[in-house]
Each structure stands twice: as C-alpha cells, then as structure tokens.
Amino acid sequence: MIKAIEVNNLKKMYGDMTAVNKITFDVKRGELFAFLGENGAGKSTTINMLSTILTKTSGEALIMGKELGKEDDAIRKEIGIVFQNSVLDKKLTVKQNLLTRGAYYGFGKKDITERLDDFWEEFNLKEIWNRKYENLSGGQRRRVDIARALLHKPSILFLDEPTTGLDPMSRKMVWDYINHLRKEEKLTIFLTTHYMEETAEADNVVIMDKGSIIAEGSPAELKSRYTAKKLIWYTDACDRHRQIIEQANVSKYKYEADHYNISMDSGITEFVWNNRDIIKDFEIIKGTMDDVFLALTGKEMVGANG
C-alpha cells in the first residue's frame, strides 16, 4: 500500500534539549494511526514538524510523497489539522470562522459553501452556523474544528488530542465523526492522544516516551507482545486454590474481594481445562493498552480511562 507519511530519523532540538529524537515510522494511506504518549512526550512537536509549522533539526519526512522542508507549500494543501487547543476565533460566528479560513486556501464563498455541503448534515452545521464560536458546547466546537480542517479536502487529517477536555458524550460524537471520515471518506488519520482506549480502533499505534519511539504495532500486536492475559476466577480464597495457582505457569496473582486476579503469560486455557472441576465461574481478560503503556514505561497514563 502507498504510504501517506514516511518519517526517517526525524529530530527536533530546542537548544540542548531534544524534543523528538530520531524517530522513524510510516503511515499507510487510509489508515488510522495513533501516536500515544504522555504530555511532553513529543507528540505535538512531531505533528507541528509534519505540518510544516516547526522546522526539523534533522532527518527526512515525506508527506503524500512530498519532501518536508522542500515542498512545504504542496504539503500544506494535503493536510488538515485539528489542534489540541482550538485556533478558531471565539468572538466570530461559525460562518465567519469557516469562510475566512477557506479563503486561506484560495477558496471563494461559493467554493466553501459547496464544500461544506458535503458535511453540512453530518456535522449539524445548520443549527450553529450563525452562532458565535464561544457560545458553542465543547462537542459543537470540536465539530466546527474538524469541519475547518476538512475545508480544503485534505488527504491527511492530523488530530492532536481531539477529545481532551470533552465529556464522554461529546467524545463519542467526535469519534463517530472520525470513524465516518475514515470509512466513508477514506481519509488518512494521524491521531495523538493520551486516552488509551482511543487507540483500540487504530490500525497502527506508536508509543512515544521522552521524544523517542519505544514501541510500535497494531493494538493487538502490542497487547500480545507487552501484556499477559488475565484470568479472573470467582471463588473463595483458600490454601488449596492458592496451591493450584502457584503450581501453574503464573507470573503473578492476587485475591481481590471475591476473585483471584491471575496474570499468565501462556497456557491459560489449559489451566482452566485442567482445573475445570473447581473453576466454575471465571472470565479471561486480554491486556489493555494501559497495561502496554505501564509495561513499557513503568508509569500509568495521566487521564487514562478518563
């Protein structure tokens, strides 16, 4: 598959401080690519470099086949960005915001309204068209931010922590739009987030820590590589049960309230089968992306599950 983004040894330094340290990765066309990491991991700096806002210190990157640093004008036509903090004007109406932004790409009013027709219904723009941006709810604002990023029909949509600070309902709404864009518009989506569960939908995930990539793969690959399956065995705590667990290939276990929480690297099904006479009530849980991050960095994500 042709690549939408190819990054090779990309580096960004501020004085002596390395913000992004020789990262290399690819993003395939039409894929949802997630960039995961804590605040300050280098996610936004990477997006700002790839979107031509910041200049790179060294390394190469191709965006839709165009070379970063040499074909920046062409790159800017290919990308749309939803910034972490909205960059639309609060005192202006949705209409004023979108019409002025469309002009940046050389579009007249007619071109912009034609383009907006594509997602007029989907984004429910009609009801908020003449309202000031500052008077919109968090979810509505994000909707307008995404509409603004799509005005010029970009090939790649960068979403820099698009759901941070949103309530669960607004987050779901934003994700419905993202999934729509991905499935219906076949858009390449480059997402940064620190919400672990948001990476579950991604085709590929890159985890960053202190400016470097520490792991990369599909969510399933990362989970199988860095986490153990868990067996939740609902039973009473007793010496016999403990004995059975300790004799098996168990990496760690503990008793919590009414069940044993048992982590096993392999052989979980065999263990259950072999002890089917006493294991009556159980569930098998795969590792989560939280566990992946914890295993890789030794720290829990701030805002995880939030």
């Binding site: 700002n48 979107s51 031509t52 806002i53 910041l54 200049t55 004008d73 800017r76 036509k77 990308i79 960005i81 910034f83 903090n85 960059v87 639309l88 004007d89 005192k91 202006l92 004023q96 019409l99 002025t100 932004r101 469309g102 002009a103 940046y104 790409y105 050389g106 579009f107 007249g108 010029h152």
Partner: protein
C-alpha cells in the same frame, strides 16, 4: 486570484477579530475620550488663556467665536493624534493575542505564506485604524461646524484625510516593529497603559509642547506621531488662525499669528531650528519606510519557527 484570496481572507479575519471585540474598541478610544472630558472640565480654559492674553491689546478685532473655534480645533487635533496612536496599537494586539494563543499556527499551516500573515496584520490594523480615526475626525468636524464657522476647504479635508492615512501607516509600522517581539497580552496591555498615559503629552494634546524644556521638546518633536500632529494642526486650525490674522489687518505685523504658531507648535522644533512642514512630512515618510523595511527583515526570524 487564489493568492489574493488568501491575503484578503487573513485581512478580513484580523479586522473581524478586532471589531467584534468591543473591549478593544473601547480601550483604543479611551485616551481620546479622556482628552475630551478633560477639555470640557478645564483644558479649554488652559488653551484659551494665552490666546486671550495675546489678543488683549487688539480690542474687538478678534471675535470670541473665532478664538473658541481655534481652541476647539486644537482639541480635535489632540483627539485625532492620540487616536492615531492608541487605535493602531489596539488593532495590532490581534497579532500578539494570536501569538500567545498559537492561533497563527492555523495560518502558517495553510498555503498562505508567513510574509502574507505578517502583511495581513499590518494592512488590517491600518484599515481598521484609518476607518475609526476618520469617523472620529468626521464627528469632530461635524461638531466644529455646529459650534461655529469652519475655515476649511475641500482640499483641506482631503489633505487631513491623507495625513490621517499617513499617521495610521506610520504608527502601525512603528508599533508593529515593537509588538513583533511581544509574546504575551499582559506585556502588551502594560505597554498600552503607558502609551495611553504618555501619548496625550507627547503630541501636545494636554499641554502645548512649548511649555516643556528644550530637551523634551527635541525628543517629542522627533517622534513621528508628534510630527503628524503638527501637520494636522496646521491643516485643521491654520484656516481659523489666518482668518483671525486677516481681521487684525496687519496692525501687529503678524505677531499674533506667529506667537500662536510658536506656542501651539505649528512647526517641529528640533535642536534649535524649526523644520519646514515639507521637511516634517519627509521625516515621517522616511521613518515609516525604515520601519516597514525593518519589519520585513525581522519577521522571518520570529515567524519562521526554528
């Protein structure tokens, strides 16, 4: 056409952001409003006293109506001149705010160039300030006409409009050079406070500059805004002064008009010599051109993020 749309979109956006912020508009007019209030309370008397003293021996040759119109003209000069400082400054605060909020990332990640971004701030500030100051001047001239006879020809009005335009461009260029280095609105607001307090004195709106010592006069007369004020003062009150001089009929060998011109600074007085009005005009143009040149050299260092 597309390029032009980009620039016009930026200009329109910057103007909309300024005019939809009622607080900004109010604060940009605060110094001229304070001047008007002070004039009504006591400044008018301060300005009339030297006039009455000078005409004491001339009996009824000069009407009190003409003296009133002359002093009103001086006030209007002060209002226009302070507005020429505070309005462009406030209009340029859009640039500072965009920098503080990183809103300009939204511009520089589109096909518009960084040069167009900085040019758009300049043009938007000039346009909004010019329109606003012209409205102030129109209201002021209307009040003068209601109050008594106005000795202004159409050419004087056109010349005044030209001077307002020159003053707007000059102030915008000089402030932009300064404000490109300001990163936060708190710093900008602090400077605005200083500007509001000082501007009325610098252009001789509160007290005639001739009241100050020679060193201070030298400094003030080198400030382009003061030079613009001198040119506006000549155009706006010169007709009334000539009319009063004609009424005296040469009895004083022109001493009254000369002393008024000296007291109320009708010519720039720099290092012991009076500048011709043409020299003053040339000086303003040179400083403006140098400022614009400096902006074009400095902006890439600030807006091309390293």
């Amino acid at each position: 056409m597309a390029k032009l749309r980009g620039l016009s979109g930026l200009i329109k956006r910057n103007m909309l952001v300024f005019i939809t912020n009622k607080g900004s508009i109010f604060f940009s007019m605060l110094t001229p409003l304070i001047l008007l209030v002070l004039y009504i309370l006591f400044l008018k008397k301060t300005f009339l006293t030297p006039l009455e003293n000078a005409t004491a021996e001339l009996g009824n040759l000069i009407s009190s109506g003409d003296m009133d119109q002359f002093v009103n003209g001086l006030l209007l000069t002060g209002i226009i001149s302070t507005a020429l400082l505070t309005i462009p400054y406030n209009a340029l605060e859009v640039m500072v705010k965009d920098r503080e909020d990183t809103t300009y990332y939204d511009m520089i990640s589109t096909p518009v160039s960084r040069a167009e971004v900085i040019m758009s701030y300049f043009i938007a500030a000039v346009m909004t300030a010019f329109i606003q100051v012209m409205l102030v001047m129109a209201c002021g001239l209307g009040m003068l006409a209601i109050n008594g006879k106005v000795y202004l020809e159409i050419t004087d009005i056109l010349m005044l409009s030209g001077l307002v335009f020159l003053g707007t461009v000059s102030s915008t260029a000089i402030f932009m050079l300064l404000m490109m280095f300001i990163k936060s609105m708190s710093t900008s607001s602090a400077l605005m406070g200083i500007l509001s307090a000082v501007s009325g004195f610098v252009v001789g709106a509160y007290i005639p500059l001739s009241e100050f010592g020679e060193k201070i006069q030298n400094v003030c007369n080198l400030i382009p805004a003061t030079c613009v004020t001198i040119l506006i003062r000549n155009r706006l009150t010169g007709g009334t002064l000539n009319h009063m001089n004609e009424n005296i009929g040469g009895l004083d060998n022109g001493m009254f008009a000369d002393s008024m011109k000296e007291i109320f600074t009708f010519n720039s007085y720099v290092f012991g010599r009076n500048w011709e009005l043409k020299q003053t005009l040339l000086y303003i143009i040179i400083i403006t051109v140098i400022s614009v040149g400096a902006i074009s050299i400095i902006y890439p260092k600030i807006y091309n993020k390293r």
